[in-house]
Symmetry: C2
């Protein structure tokens, strides 16, 4: 039956990370590989209370079919939060609830991408976006990330060379690199994008996880008519519910609604109602602030352990937020080889190669610090140091 | 920015039914339009208990990211139920949890359909399937439904004429027509399909809602290697959770997993865990049996009211299960005109035209009996009779 599959499936394969995560399911393994939040910080009791409340007060509605756009008060909450935190004017009509921001990527791909359309992505790039967009067979144009965001010169060159439809960026604490675009870079980016008929996809799952430095403006505040923002409750409340949102102008939203409806009618309604109940019965800012404190501690410890133990020629980013560090080994040292040795020592990470659609990155790797407590970080980095030193001899 | 949208969005538009449902939100309107289950039958208390149990016993895992395939014990439950109820041998590896069977349709479209691929659908056809597949720009080949299933002669003609990739059928209590394929027709269908390199999509959301007559075999029991089955908890537990499944052979499942992962990583994990808890703490068969009793009563009442009050030249199906009746007005009487008059009398239904991709069906309409209690059915059919009589004069 193989010859019946659609052309778009020919180049796809199971996620490399997914295969790696299987290796790390063994309890003995300390894994810095996954991109998971710290479950100790999930508001389990509060969320259970919220579930009970909506089910017992309004169960017949909460369990029934609902609207494609999502629960209106939840969309109003998101719009209000954008206004308060970011000064962004978004109407609830410009917000649609998705199954995590992964579905946001899928819907954007469905609505915009013809086969062969050009899409700018970051190099290294977010794997979930590469997978979601990849299904629609675009031409990926990866532009290198520098310390303060994308290489603007190379971006301009690429935009001048050929018509480009989409531009995908994880603008804060990028996955995998941890890079955040500086204010200056955001402004430059906006100036450039204004000159082209294209859509900027500002994918922002980690923006609220800033534990040092100053919050920076959304690209939507510079180029509102060109920007589609993707948001998520996964990193600030809980990921298992798969709740995120798309914020886009009305003309785009009209198409997004059609795509969402044909994809799955609407997102889980009980979860939308329960998350909203949780949000109004609790203080989200306080909750996020406690997440930030814990993640900062974990990040500080991982950075200091690396500085103390890793050989000096190994470089490592020091992001001001998010969940990942990005490590660069000396040239010609393969992080895939390191990975194979590391798993034997029961420590795991993601080899960087997975994030480069055009090859490269063989000497890079991603470390997650959000999902390991301090004891595991200490022990895990020690194990990793041992393997690295053995390889670099 | 309009010129940036993908070609696939050009022919799509918001669902006609969705626009109709907006008209019917007024409390004064008795609506036979939607395809909603009766919320009085939702196991609200039992499900709330199940939610509490999984959250309080295992909250940190229940709220975390999970696997793309879905919760293994839930997939085992589904596989076992297929075996017990249908004699079908399906391994849990051949089952993936989706966001309702609507996502099953979307994933099947993603995995199989190239632009222009031919797909057989029923005439009238299920609107959700037309929308989901439509996104992938196939060529729809609608084959008329007779009282006992699809017109086999026309089907064979269509299959001989051109290569066809997919065949979509709602085999039990079809939406919108209420038609169920007879055993003889299933056997003939299987014989034909064996001769072609194609995939049969057996969409079966209503199969368990049989309140008279005998249960019939799944197409998977005749042509297992060619059949993909879509199932759903929406009609037997609750639809707001958006939980369904795909059952397919391993080669297909491998591609479905990739498509699901790129679509939204995995389905809502709390709901998967809570539904499983509900299923093992309660007796699903007893619950379904109580749904059947209520729906049978509502169906019997609607059928007898129609027989008593509607003019004799109007025909109406008498399905042995499901949620819908299908009404055929005299030729050249427009159900869309009737709809406009009916809404003025505060009663609504879906004009049949919406279910014909190639035009036709102007004198047909769909009536839902699951979502209205007996009082509403009596009053609603009376109102409808008044308008019909006025139109037929």
């Amino acid at each position: 039956m193989r010859n019946l599959f659609a052309d778009r499936m020919a180049k796809t394969h199971k996620s490399f990370i997914r295969e790696i995560l299987k290796v790390t399911q063994d309890d003995k393994v300390i894994s810095f590989a996954g991109g998971l939040p710290n479950p100790k910080l999930f508001p389990v009791k509060e969320f259970a209370d919220a579930c009970q409340k909506v089910l017992l007060q309004d169960g017949e509605n909460v369990l029934q079919y609902s609207t494609t756009e999502g629960y209106l008060p939840l969309r109003e909450y998101i719009a209000e939060r954008y206004f308060i935190n970011k000064g962004l004017q978004a109407s609830p009509d410009e917000i649609l609830i998705t199954n995590g921001s992964q579905q946001g990527l899928d819907l954007v791909g469905k609505v915009f991408l013809n086969k062969g359309d050009r899409i700018i992505i970051e190099r290294p790039g977010y794997l979930g976006a590469i997978q979601a967009f990849g299904i629609f067979e675009p031409e990926f144009v990866p532009i290198p990330l520098l310390e303060d965001g994308m290489d603007i010169d190379l971006l301009e060159k690429a935009l001048k060379a050929n018509q480009t439809k989409l531009f995908h960026t994880v603008i804060n604490f990028q996955n995998p690199s941890g890079v955040t675009y500086s204010q200056q870079k955001r402004e430059k980016l906006a100036d450039i994008i204004k000159n082209y008929n294209m859509v900027l996809v500002e994918d922002n799952p980690y923006g609220e996880l800033r534990f040092m430095g100053e919050d920076l403006p959304s690209m939507k505040s510079y180029v509102p008519e060109r920007t589609v923002v993707l948001g998520s409750f996964s990193k600030v409340v809980t990921p298992g519910l798969r709740l995120g949102w798309i914020c886009a102008g009305r003309d785009v939203m009209e198409k997004i609604i059609v795509a969402k409806q044909s994809s799955d009618l609407h997102s889980n309604y009980l979860s939308q109602r329960a998350v909203y109940q949780y949000l109004i019965d609790n203080n989200l800012d306080e909750h996020i602030s406690s997440i930030r404190k814990v993640y900062k501690k974990q990040r500080d410890l991982m950075v200091s352990m690396i500085e103390k133990h890793f050989p000096q020629k190994i470089r490592c980013t020091k992001p001001e937020g998010g969940m990942f560090l990005w490590v660069t080994l000396p040239e010609k040292v393969s992080s895939l080889d390191l990975f194979k040795l590391a798993t034997k020592e029961n420590v795991a990470f993601v080899p960087g190669k997975a994030f480069y659609v055009d090859g490269g990155g063989e000497n890079t790797l991603r470390l997650n610090f959000s999902n390991s407590d301090e004891k595991k970080i200490e022990e895990g980095i020690k194990r990793l140091t041992k393997v690295i030193k053995r390889m670099l001899v």
